[in-house]
């Protein structure tokens, strides 16, 4: 038994020292690794790196896009605020103008109304004057006739003589007017 083991061990040691390589196996490993290395350098690494780069670019590009959108939004807000301020100023200006215009229109209307009222007053005065004149004229003739007839009856003598009668009436009216004027004063 012991002999067998010893002989097997010594035989094994002669047949195969584990540290002595098989040249053909080395060749196969070298060739196999060379092929693998070639495929990795040529295809695998470039493809993975390209994907990584594209992904990083996609993420960074997204961030840049978001930043741009934000900048645009704040610019739009600024513009909107500016427009709002402008619009307010414009509205104030228009209101101011309207107020001034309104005041002007009001003044014009007042003036016009005053002129109209003055005109109406003047017209009324003229009409009253003319009516008074007409009344005076008709009064004079009627009062004259009436008074003459009346006086004739009282006096008993007809004052049919027109010329004389007219003279009497005129003198009477003149006396009346002077009396009136004295009273008015």
């Amino acid at each position: 038994m012991n002999q067998l083991i010893i002989s097997a061990a010594t035989e094994g040691a002669e047949a195969a020292n584990p540290l002595v390589p098989n040249v053909w196996e080395m060749g196969v490993v070298l060739a196999g690794f060379a092929v693998l290395f070639f495929i990795v350098v040529k295809f695998v690494v470039p493809m993975f790196e390209k994907t990584f780069a594209e992904r990083a670019e996609a993420i960074e590009g997204g961030i840049a896009k978001a930043e741009k959108a934000q900048a645009e939004a704040s610019a739009a807000l600024e513009e909107y605020k500016q427009q709002l301020t402008d619009a307010r100023a414009e509205a104030n200006r228009i209101r101011e103008e309207a107020r001034a215009e309104g005041a002007q229109i009001l003044a014009e209307l007042k003036e016009k109304a005053a002129a109209e009222s003055a005109r109406i007053t003047a017209q009324a005065h003229a009409q009253i004057e003319s009516e008074r004149q007409a009344a005076v004229v008709s009064l004079r003739s009627e009062v004259g006739t009436l008074a003459t007839t009346l006086a004739g009856r009282i006096v008993g003598e007809t004052l049919e003589d027109d010329a004389r009668a007219a003279r009497v009436v005129d003198r009477f009216l003149a006396d009346l007017e002077t009396q009136n004027a004295g009273v008015a004063k």
Binding site: V23, W24, F33, L36, V44, V45, F48
Partner: protein
């Protein structure tokens, strides 16, 4: 040690199972990542998300964190290829039926460590010229009288021991894990065949231990892929910034 050759091809040992698995791993990794990366959608689907997570792990957690700066992207392909090449070839050891990590044979580990060794020395020379060897072996701030001791240590540790440990760490963990699982398997088989019932019953203990070891090995397989890649990143970073170390 070696499994029988699949074909009587090439040298004395022929075309082994490891060779087939290595070629298969290249096909698996290339297919998966080309499919995952092909669509290039900004919002990834499931496959693309898985691919991006795996790629992002090597790119950010290893390359960017260790190498840093703007230069790291140049070394991502190498680190990425190394990590998944080693990972898939290790995980073979945890898949039933296959049950064979490719790097349980030392040849592949030597090749990868050699590629890394040439790479970081090349980067160091390209970055600093031949002064790189002085920067890498003469640490700054060390008193002159200690230098005769420090310089040989630095030369040995950086230029001689580093590639050896880099390759053997991967190879040894894979071989040991492979052996433990296989030995546990044969042990269970041996104990189950015993006539004595009590002895037969002990196979349950071995089975429990074997399952625990299998889980541990699965962890180590992933971990070694990470460690190998991480060390590569550290070596490259050391070569890039040799003057500030």
């Amino acid at each position: 040690m070696h499994l029988p050759a699949i074909l009587p091809w090439g040298a004395a040992d022929g075309f082994s199972k490891q060779m087939l698995l290595v070629i298969l791993s290249v096909v698996i990794i290339a297919t998966f990542f080309v499919l995952a990366a092909r669509k290039q959608q900004l919002v990834p689907g499931k496959l693309q998300f898985a691919g991006e997570a795996a790629y992002g792990f090597v790119r950010n957690s290893i390359a960017k964190d260790i190498i840093g700066g703007r230069d790291f992207i140049k070394y991502v392909p190498l680190l990425f290829s190394l990590f998944f090449f080693i990972l898939v070839n290790n995980i073979y050891g945890a898949i039933p039926v296959i049950q064979l990590p490719s790097f349980s044979h030392v040849g592949g580990a030597y090749v990868l460590a050699a590629i890394v060794y040439v790479t970081w020395i090349g980067i160091g020379i390209k970055k600093n010229g031949l002064r790189y060897f002085k920067l890498a072996t003469v640490p700054s701030g060390v008193p002159v009288y200690i230098l005769p001791i420090v310089i040989p240590i630095e030369i040995i540790s950086n230029f001689l021991v580093r590639p050896v440990t880099h390759s053997l760490r991967l190879f040894a963990t894979m071989l040991a894990g492979h052996l433990i699982v296989m030995i546990a398997g044969s042990g269970i088989e041996y104990l189950v065949m015993q006539e004595n019932v009590l002895l037969k019953g002990t196979s349950v203990l071995v089975l429990a231990g074997a399952i625990a070891m299998y889980m541990l090995e699965a962890l180590i397989m992933a971990l070694q892929a990470y460690v190998f890649t991480l060390l590569t990143a550290i070596y490259i970073e050391g070569a890039l910034h040799a003057d500030s170390h």
